[in-house]
């Protein structure tokens, strides 16, 4: 057995703010050998990133290691002098951040940053930084390295920036790399390439990697070992293949089942109720942290914290009823009512939108075709998915359909009525017929309005049922439907979690009981458990109100789960469309194929080999 490069023994991190202290990470034990990848998986708030920050000793104010040791190559990382740590960080321990754009300094060119970094980590005698930079760029398959050095971060795509950061991270041949959700902010196809690239570089240098992600499927594809964290404590820790194919802890199993599949028959999603307990609750908690959400919990689970018990070779789980875990099965796939009549609710013919630069009496305006000749129909009660990468025109299409933008050419009809003109009358008609759920709950809810006022905003516009009483009643109804407590009506958006905000976002669109919803990436950026809750909610609401939906997403497995039909968009055009099952099982267009192979397969034993799109469909 090789000597571990990084090992934690009984590591505890606490937040010491104020008079009380709260445990953030509890009793962490792991060891990472050179050349191995450790995947850290869990919902947001599980403490994944905190581990990365503990290693770099960049803990937030008021947080401190209170117990245990953390050793890097035989040196104690916690107690070491700051000077020694500075020497290690960025050289022996490298980082790849979540947001590639924030990882680079926007006012310095790539070359300047590369030069600074290379000088810091030291160059071979007689080697110029420029030659070295080009060599490192080549290693991460970045073309036109010399031109790239002159560029500034904002001139590059997210994928390019992430590659540059990977090149910088591996330039010093680090012994340990910490990648904190390095692909979350990127498109699927780029995600696949970035992950492959990290794997390739890691093999070249024999680097140990800590790969932090919320995606269990992705982690199991690339990691040697996985640690599943729940509320700051490991729930399960073991070899990736074993852990993914036969999860021992109910939490791992639930996470796996909360994620929709990308192949095979569709199955229901396991809905993890509620949320992870907060720090305050955890401190008082006696029993298993997961007990309140666990389908297998019994009386004994709430009595004492379960120890991490061995399950198999190198495989441990903190559960006293491990043998019951395989009994957790997903509910049967029940999509509710699908398209019942063939009557088209929404049709769009040859829809085109050209954006031009801001108005000015001087100078030429440049234009860009965001949506090009798109035909679309949406039947009653039908969910249609639109997939594609960022910049493919999905969101522009959504804005045209709901009337936030006017098409340059083409025709839109709602319920047989032509609404292309988008005048006063058309707007009024649209208001009761089609509504939109926005992508970013942060930006979609006015931070200065109370939830009750947000969800009944439509009444304010029409003046109908606009008395305080009627609005409060309607708000209570809507909150009940979307599964929020009634007292949420008086809160402000900042007091809700991301998932709750997205529910409010849905409730606002439902206020006038529209026939069509347009949902733009409404589950991206949410935890899988929250995502499953929301998808389930949408299906339930369809059962009750019978609306149809245009569901825009970059996540193919979600679209596969939810939608009856799918349209694949590339550079403003629809390149493939058809029934979801057919398209996903047998994609015809090379772009659809490349999108599908970019998703890690459900079966861990399958080789994940994302294929590059063919010429002409270059994704980056």
């Amino acid at each position: 057995m090789a000597y571990p490069i990084l090992s934690a023994r009984g590591l505890c991190v606490e937040s010491l703010g104020g008079k009380e202290s709260f445990p953030v990470l509890t009793d962490l034990n792991f060891s990472l050998e050179p050349g191995k990848i450790l995947g850290l998986v869990g919902e947001s708030g599980a403490g994944k990133s905190m581990i990365g920050r503990t290693i770099s000793q960049f803990l937030p104010h008021g947080f401190a290691v209170t117990k245990g040791t953390l050793q890097f190559g035989g040196e104690d990382l916690v107690g070491m002098p700051a000077e020694r740590r500075r020497a290690l960080l960025g050289r022996d321990i490298a980082f790849i951040p979540q947001e590639p754009l924030s990882g680079l300094d926007p006012v310095l060119s790539v070359g300047q940053q590369m030069k600074e970094h290379l000088h810091r980590i030291g160059l071979a005698p007689g080697e110029s930084w420029r030659d070295r930079a080009l060599k490192e760029f080549e290693a991460v398959h970045l073309p036109h390295g010399a031109a790239l050095l002159e560029k500034f971060p904002h001139q590059l795509s997210g994928g390019m920036c992430q590659r540059i950061l990977i090149a910088m991270a591996f330039a010093s041949r680090p012994r340990l790399l910490i990648a904190d959700e390095p692909t979350t902010a990127l498109d699927v196809t780029i995600q696949a390439r970035i992950v492959k690239l990290i794997g390739e570089m890691q093999k070249r240098d024999g680097t140990a990697v800590i790969f932090i992600t919320h995606d269990l499927r992705l982690a199991s594809q690339i990691s040697d070992e996985i640690m599943v964290l729940y509320a700051g404590r490991p729930a399960e820790y073991g070899p990736a293949k074993q852990l993914f194919s036969a999860p021992a802890h109910p939490y791992t199993r639930c996470l796996q089942l909360a994620n929709p599949t990308i192949s095979g028959p569709r199955r229901g999603l396991f809905i993890l109720p509620e949320r992870m307990p907060g720090l305050r609750v955890l401190k008082e908690l006696k029993g298993c942290r997961f007990a309140s959400r666990c389908p297998n919990a019994i009386e004994a689970c709430t009595q004492a914290e379960p120890p991490l018990l061995p399950i198999g070779p190198d495989h441990i789980a903190a559960c006293i009823r491990v043998e019951k875990t395989p009994e957790i099965v997903p509910p049967p796939f029940a999509p509710g009512r699908a398209a019942t009549s063939a009557k088209a609710h929404l049709t769009a013919e040859k829809l085109t939108k050209t954006y031009t630069t801001a108005w000015s009496p001087f100078g030429k305006r440049s234009s860009f075709k965001a949506v090009n000749n798109v035909n679309l129909t949406l039947d009653e009660g039908e969910f249609v998915g639109i997939v594609g990468e960022s910049g493919s025109g999905k969101s522009s299409l959504a804005r045209l359909v709901v009337g936030l933008d006017n098409p340059t050419a083409g025709r839109i009809t709602l319920d047989g009525r032509d609404v292309t003109a988008n005048g006063q009358a058309e707007r009024a008609f649209r208001r009761d017929y089609i509504q939109m759920v926005f992508q970013d709950p942060q930006s979609a809810l006015n931070p200065r309005r109370r939830i009750g006022s947000i969800v009944t905003q439509a009444n304010e516009a029409t003046g109908l049922h606009n008395s305080q009483r009627e609005r409060a009643d309607r708000a209570a109804e809507l909150l009940k439907e979307i599964g929020l407590p009634a007292d949420a009506a008086l809160r402000f958006p900042s007091q809700l979690s991301g998932g709750q905000k997205q529910r409010v976002n849905i409730a606002r669109a439902l206020c006038t009981l529209p026939k069509i919803l347009v949902a733009d990436e409404i589950v991206s950026g949410l935890d899988v458990s929250v995502q499953a809750q929301l998808l389930d909610l949408l299906l339930k609401l369809r059962d009750e109100h019978g609306f149809s939906m245009l569901f825009i997403s970059h996540d193919l497995s979600v679209v596969r789960y939810l939608c009856d039909r799918v349209m694949v968009m590339y550079r403003g055009e629809v390149v493939e469309s058809g029934r979801t099952q057919t398209v996903f099982a047998d994609p015809q267009h090379p772009y659809t194929k490349s999108l599908l192979t970019a998703v890690p397969p459900d079966d861990i034993n399958l080789q994940w080999s994302p294929v590059a799109a063919e010429a002409g469909y270059q994704v980056e």
């Binding site: 801001a358 108005w359 000015s360 009496p361 709901v402 009337g403 936030l404 707007r427 009024a428 649209r430 208001r431 509504q435 939109m436 926005f438 992508q439 970013d440 930006s443 979609a444 809810l445 006015n446 931070p447 200065r448 905003q457 439509a458 304010e460 516009a461 029409t462 606002r508 206020c511 006038t512």
Partner: protein, 285 residues
């Protein structure tokens, strides 16, 4: 009981509010606070030094000017002009500036282009010269001073607020409001204005400081209120001839201006630090 709002806990805001409160008390209760009539001339005691200096008279705590008028009384009465101008000019400039900023930022396109260009042309005139020209055209008097300052300084509000409006305009909740059928007017007042309000209040308190300085400049060159109304700028102008014999006549109004502008600026700075959402977000991260 409701908790004390965050902005009131800031030391800067508290300091600013105390200073402004002192000035406001001086202005409101001037006839009772001032030891003498500010315009009464005591020709037997011209250029009297302050009470604590040799030859000072307890009747005139800060001495007298070249016409034998009580400096302290004039200082106190001048606060009236200063505060009237500060409040009404900044409110007026705020209303005009905010209106055009919201129209430009919300509608965009040629409306935005036109308003922005007008603001740019307006800003290319030196503000003091512009207000002097306006005063020549309008004639002296308190109302015209306020009007001149409003006409010069609305552009300040317009420019800064417009960019904030553009940021808020792109928020999805503004689109959502349009989708549920809000009129433009309602969208602006109910969705955008609450978001720009913190910046608006901050700018207004800074503008009050600016208005005091502009008024002082105008009254220094005799283009503000008439000579029968005391004003700080006028006092500085009057003290110029006797600057060597009675330096305190000059120092006192300068300190008063400094004190008032400092109060408004520190209030504005404190408000900006606590109310500006962008700043608090970066502080949080």
């Amino acid at each position: 009981m409701r908790p004390i709002p965050l902005w009131l806990k800031s030391g800067r805001v508290q300091t600013g509010l105390v200073i402004i409160a002192i000035l406001a008390i001086c202005a409101l209760f001037a006839p009772w606070l001032a030891p003498n009539d500010p315009n009464e001339q005591d020709l037997l005691a011209i250029l009297a030094p302050p009470a604590w200096a040799d030859g000072g008279d307890a009747l005139y705590p800060l001495g007298t000017d070249s016409l034998g008028r009580c400096v302290l009384s004039r200082l106190i009465f001048s606060a009236r002009v200063a505060l009237t101008v500060a409040f009404s000019a900044s409110v007026g400039a705020m209303i005009i500036g905010a209106f055009f900023a919201h129209v430009a930022g919300y509608f965009g396109g040629w409306v935005d282009w036109l308003i922005s260009r007008i603001v740019e042309i307006w800003l290319s005139f030196p503000p003091v010269i512009l207000s002097l020209i306006l005063m020549v055209g309008l004639g002296t008097g308190l109302r015209n001073v306020v009007l001149a300052i409003i006409l010069v300084d609305w552009t300040r509000f317009c420019r800064v607020l417009r960019s904030e409006v553009i940021v808020l305009r792109r928020r999805d909740y503004v689109s959502a409001a349009q989708l549920v059928g809000f009129s433009h007017w309602r969208t602006i007042t109910r969705e955008i204005l609450p978001g720009t309000m913190p910046l608006l209040i901050t700018l207004m308190s800074l503008e009050m400081g600016v208005a005091i300085i502009v008024e002082a400049i105008l009254s220094f060159v005799g283009m503000s209120v008439g000579s029968e109304t005391p004003a700080w700028g006028q006092m500085i102008a009057d003290a110029r001839q006797n600057i060597y014999e009675a330096p305190f006549n000059m120092i006192a109004p300068i300190l008063a201006i400094f004190f008032a502008v400092f109060g408004f600026n520190i209030l504005g700075d404190g408000l900006r630090r606590t109310l500006d959402t962008r700043l608090t977000q970066t502080e949080r991260t």
